[in-house]
Amino acid sequence: MSAAGADRGRRAARTAAEGAPERTPAPGRAGAGAAVRAEAADCGGEGGGSAAVRTAPAESASAGPRLPRRAWLPRADPAGKLLAAVLVAAGLIPVVDPVTSGVVLAAGLGLLPFSGLGRARLAALGVPLLLMGASIGLVNLVFGEEGPMGALGAAVRLLAIALPSMLAAVTSDPTDMADSLVQRLRVPERPAIAVLAALRLIPLLAEQWRTLGRARRARGLDSGGNPARAAAVFTGKAFALLVRSIRIGTLLAMAMDARGFAGGPRSHARLSRWRTADTALLAGTLALLAAAHAVSAAAGTWTPLTF
């Protein structure tokens, strides 16, 4: 079963398992998908078949890394994950000792097997995070007044706060995240959709950046290893990219307006569902924070933030 198929299956299962929500009758999302695919197979012919073959490699290039949808964390409600991350930050900012943060960090690391992230992605995300923690620790060790314990506390606290936010971000599909923020947390709809639309443009702009670089080489402009000239070339490219991105943004805004985005109440094609597991995630986060503070207090290491 392909990833997309699995995804459809999951959605279908979710719809079936939870019964019809407010008003989702038979032609749910999954049903629609199957019907359209069947239709496509029927009308196949020249276009359909060759098109499918042609775009097969493109998909692997641009669809980006797929999360295995069966992992627990990617299935959790994005708003719930964000809230949990915010709770962790709120719970750890007032304490500076390494024990309280260490307990939370350990729990966060314990979530990694459920994140569905492959080893390569974990490394790609983890290495910068560890470097950040190490440099904060080092700076505090050298220049701080709290000694080694304070430095360790600063590093561990940073990691303990950053890890949940990062997990919330990378294990959530942006569309699901926007749906959830809008429907759960009442985030204003238009900015959320605008951010989604802008996300779609990032690969376009990355491509544009490469094109601008090549175009400058074609004009005889390159840094030739000279940092001053490299800076000048960079500035020129950045300006050209800005002009282009404004142009693209304007066109996209027009297209969205033409599709009725400009005014009036919107409805939601996708229903963001809050499940027991999401409530459990929040409750668990609170319990974890309480436990972390308790353990640290019991060990006599609990240190509040002082100015």
């Binding site: 459809r8 019907a35 496509a40 009308c43 499918a52 544009q208 074609a218 009725g260």
Partner: protein
């Protein structure tokens, strides 16, 4: 099954539009009545404000609209202001990239219905229906990023249909697509017109795409069906100057439209082209493999392979065309031949005359040297502008080459003259019109070469979106360069360019190159001298040099080109060609 229930009635009275900050009205005094269910083709010279008129009908102008400017007169859709009928009106523009909103196809088609505030069940029923209607071959979870250009545009169309518009506005909907993608979209439109009652207004500068005519079959020999039953011609600053059935309008106004640069069936431009004398290859690509750039940062997946072991040779005095559907690797191969990118595997090396400059692989040449010998013109002209005025753009390369101010000015003036940009010397390049930008981008590439042009000129879709006047000028300029012994390489899907100005065609599909095919007698002579078997033997055997001498000089027979570009062109060309050879 009908996407629209009934059509809208569009009424314009004394309507006019002026872009903010401009003194000239792009359109003025437009009086037009479009009855429900009519299919109207809106024609006019480029810059005549056709797109703006469509945007106004889509309700994008006015107080809260995305397009700002001064509006006068009256525009009513079904008796009300255009902004009020948003949702009942759908707009499909040229570039699908800037019209898709969501990451998943189904979600994107659902975007319009969501904005209309429809119930969830109704939204998905409409999405399913619309996707079927456009023959979208995938499920709704298909990532939009994984679609080809033609598929994206069909998805855009589905998104418009899902709103069940009473008025469908199409702004060159097939302009950015390759031939297969455009044909598919056109078929969907034909089908729609039979099944839907919506009023349709279409802007399309390639008229043959939408107006049926027995004599006017597309490349596949397939007759093009009528997409429109009425043609309205607008003139900048004026209003409607012609209005009626397609045949009548083209009979009465065909000449003046053609003079204004509109692609009128039967009045296509007939450039006069001169053949070149082919010589031994100056750039040779052997066994080139290339991958698309990967995703952003460490998280990105590696890029998909775009080219697989492709061979290609660039000969002076020869026009080589790289063809194939979007995504076949045309632009990638062009970038390799231009020395802008290095292949992952294989070599792109200078040969013959260019090997005399340096024998290093082209991608390793310093930019300044590369620009002097190999010029590249990008698809989007704006990408290659690096200064703030037309004059500075053209003076950029000569100054960097260390020419004196006087010599630089002389060269710049000559190029300005040659490309009809003299009056625009002090204008910012970004403010030029599309045709002017294209001419300037070609001029910048010419400005860097010794004796007024680089040895090799590579152009990515140079004729894309150009009106007949710019098109003709470009073809004639390129043909001059070829006659001067320059190598001209284009990546293109412009059938007219292939017909009028191509010696050798290298067809690409799925990253593989077909053996070069001759498109002219000169091309045939060139290819006949070097049969494919001999080429592969040479490649596996001898070193980089040596082989060039073996090629010997190539002669192009008289009248090699110009063939189907019109009799006038042919006679003139063969006369000149022979004269040159004597």
């Amino acid at each position: 099954m009908t996407p629209a229930r009934g059509g809208a009635r569009v009424e314009l009275a004394g309507w006019g539009w002026r872009h903010s900050g401009r003194s000239r009205w792009s359109l003025r005094g437009v009086d037009l009545l479009i009855e429900p269910g009519e299919r109207v083709l809106l024609l006019g010279a480029s810059g005549a404000g056709k797109s703006t008129l469509l945007h106004a009908m889509a309700g994008l102008t006015g107080e809260s609209g995305a397009v700002s400017g001064d509006e006068e007169g009256r525009l009513r859709i079904d008796g009300g202001p255009a902004a009020a009928s948003r949702g009942g009106v759908a707009l499909v523009s040229q570039d699908p990239e800037t019209q898709l909103v969501m990451a998943r196809s189904g979600d994107d088609a659902a975007f319009g219905p969501e904005n209309l505030g429809l119930e969830r069940a109704e939204i998905w029923a409409r999405v399913r229906e619309a996707l079927e209607e456009v023959g979208f071959g995938y499920g709704p979870d298909r990532p939009t990023a994984a679609l080809s250009g033609g598929e994206k545009q069909r998805l855009v169309l589905a998104g418009a249909l899902a709103m069940r518009p009473r008025l469908l506005l199409l702004d060159e909907p097939t302009a950015n697509l390759d031939r297969a993608g455009a044909a598919r979209v056109r078929r969907v439109l034909e089908h729609l017109l039979r099944s839907s009652e919506a009023t349709m207004v279409l802007v399309e500068h390639r008229v043959a795409e939408v107006v049926g005519d027995a004599a006017n079959a597309d490349e596949a020999g397939e007759a093009v069906a009528d997409l429109v039953d009425r043609v309205v011609v607008v003139e900048p600053g004026a209003g409607v100057v012609a209005d009626g059935e397609p045949a009548a309008v083209f009979a009465g106004h065909g000449r003046s439209l053609a003079d204004q640069g509109v692609w009128v069936p039967g009045r296509e431009p007939r450039p006069s082209v001169r053949p070149g004398a082919a010589g031994p290859a100056v750039i040779e690509a052997a066994g080139c493999t290339a991958r698309a750039p990967g995703g952003i940062g460490l998280l990105g997946a590696p890029g998909a392979p775009v080219l697989h072991g492709v061979d290609a040779a660039v000969h002076p005095g020869t026009a080589t065309a790289l063809t194939g559907p979007n995504g076949a690797g045309k632009s990638t191969l062009l970038g390799l031949l231009a020395g802008l990118d290095a292949p992952q595997d294989g070599t792109v090396a200078p040969r013959g005359r260019l090997a005399g400059v340096s024998t290093r692989p082209l991608a390793k040449w310093p930019a300044r040297r590369l620009a002097r010998h190999v010029g590249t013109v990008f698809q989007h002209a704006e990408d290659q502008f690096v200064t703030g005025s037309v004059r500075d753009e053209l003076a950029f390369a000569p100054r960097r080459a260390g020419l004196s101010e006087g010599e630089t000015r002389r060269r710049v003036d000559e190029l300005l003259e040659r490309l009809r940009l003299t009056g625009l010397a002090d204008v910012h390049p970004f403010t030029l019109s599309g045709g002017e930008k294209r001419r300037l981008s070609v001029a910048t590439a010419l400005s860097s070469g010794a004796s007024h042009a680089p040895d090799v000129l590579l152009l990515d879709e140079p004729t894309f979106g150009q009106d007949t006047r710019t098109w003709r000028e470009l073809v004639e300029l390129l043909s001059e360069l070829r006659a001067d012994g320059r190598a001209v390489v284009t990546a293109t899907h412009d059938a007219a360019l292939l017909r009028c100005f191509t010696d050798v065609e290298i067809g690409l599909s799925g990253g593989y190159a077909r053996p070069p095919a001759a498109r002219s007698e000169a091309g045939a002579a060139l290819l006949a001298d070097r049969p494919p078997s001999a080429r592969s033997r040479e490649r596996s055997g001898s070193g980089p040099d040596g082989r060039n001498d073996a090629d010997g000089a190539h002669r192009s027979p008289p009248g090699a080109d110009a063939d189907r570009c019109g009799e006038r062109g042919r006679r003139r060309v063969s006369g000149r060609g022979e004269g040159e050879r004597r």
